[in-house]
């Protein structure tokens, strides 16, 4: 390739970009429209937006809902109700999005997926990640999904501890099918959710939204810190999970 030609083409592209007619409404109108939508959805802040969205969801028993709503509001966690997937609309009563994980609350028994692993790569993670001090150096580390997911393993593959860290602040990376609401947990660093029962977990590819059922996950703690989603699987119990989560350095 000749760099001179490249520069000419690049200059042409820049000029073309500048000559493109992309109409947009007056910024003040857009700002007002967004303001109105946020106000209609409970515009007191991100926490209130979460609360408002939760209240429009199908209501679980009242006490549970109040607790759920209160904790969500205090923590200002990022939960949004999204439409259920078309194929699962009938079975799934609610879909919550939290820390890059889509939680599908379902009343029906869920099928156990065949264990699958994501294709892994040698490329490093594309985001800053940490290691839990109480577990020390992982026995095995894998990255997948173009460096978007980093998985660390300690101990036995099937019975050990696994920590996934993923850049999933905006669109979910994993989905989980749950029969019971996850329990809110306080970490020193913020809010987390504890899923006590085994549940199917799957992966959502960023590029085309492909959903791959992975395996049946055991008890898991999920939380978000600094925009990074975390799921810790296989801790002995809730207290153990909290201890590991709080030791991230």
């Amino acid at each position: 390739m000749t760099s001179e030609k490249d520069e000419g083409l690049e200059a042409d592209l820049l000029a073309l970009g500048a000559a493109l007619d992309v109409p947009s409404p007056p910024p003040a109108d857009v700002a007002a429209a967004v303001h109105a939508r946020l106000r209609a959805g409970g515009g007191q802040g991100p926490a209130a937006a979460v609360r408002a969205r939760l209240e429009t969801a199908q209501a679980p028993p009242r006490r549970t809902r109040r607790r759920w709503v209160l904790v969500a509001a205090i923590a200002a966690v990022l939960i949004a109700i999204t439409a259920a997937t078309p194929q699962g609309r009938a079975a799934i009563s609610r879909v919550l999005e939290y820390a890059g994980i889509e939680l599908q609350l379902t009343d029906l028994p869920t099928a156990t997926p065949t264990p699958t692993e994501l294709p892994t790569a040698k490329t490093g993670a594309t985001f800053p990640h940490r290691t839990p001090a109480v577990l020390g150096t992982p026995d095995r580390t894998l990255t997948s999904d173009n460096g978007r997911v980093l998985s660390m393993f300690w101990g036995d593959v099937t019975d050990g501890v696994r920590l996934d860290q993923f850049d999933g602040g905006l669109s979910p990376v994993f989905f989980k099918q749950l029969r019971h609401q996850p329990q809110p947990v306080r970490l020193a660093t913020g809010e987390a959710w504890w899923i006590a029962d085994p549940h199917p977990v799957g992966h959502i590819a960023r590029e085309d939204g492909t959903r791959t059922p992975l395996r049946l996950a055991t008890r898991t703690l999920i939380w978000q810190a600094n925009g990074i989603g975390h799921r810790l699987e296989g801790a002995k119990n809730r207290e153990d999970a909290v201890r590991i989560a709080e030791s991230l350095r």
Partner: protein, 178 residues
Amino acid sequence: MDDDEAIARSLTGDLSAYETLVARYSALAHRTAALLGAGDEAEDVVQEAFVKAFRHLASFRRDAPFRPWLLRIVANETHNLTRSRGRRADLTVRLSATAEAAAPDDPEGAALATDRRTRLLEAVRSLPERERQAVVCRYFLQLSEAETAQVLDWPLGSVKSRTHRGLARLREEVGRDL
């Protein structure tokens, strides 16, 4: 009020502060959505993106620039839209009329320039989707490689290679006529 202050105030629920941010980035957000293929639904995409950005504001890393973070949400919403439409995200923009009037004393030269641009735009339109996205971000939106990687949620290496392949294809398409 700079971005950081507007974000800090938005996080406390100050919607007027958030309006400032929306107004500031509105034109760029529309341009991004339209050029990435939202077509005549760009306005809906942008509104949805701003609403979503507000709800996710707590996850924004305050030491990072706001612009690529926001544009990533816009790109994501555009991606969701085109995916739900189940077809390719076409680049449906037009050359603005003012480009033709840029050189009134040289109508032939201006017509030639317009013709070249039309052919180049056509060539960009027919690029494979990912190469087109890379070219659109790098040249039409003038984002850096790192910003493009963040906005499209690709590894940096993919931005480089897809841009490179896109340029090679464009050179092949239009170069032989020049």
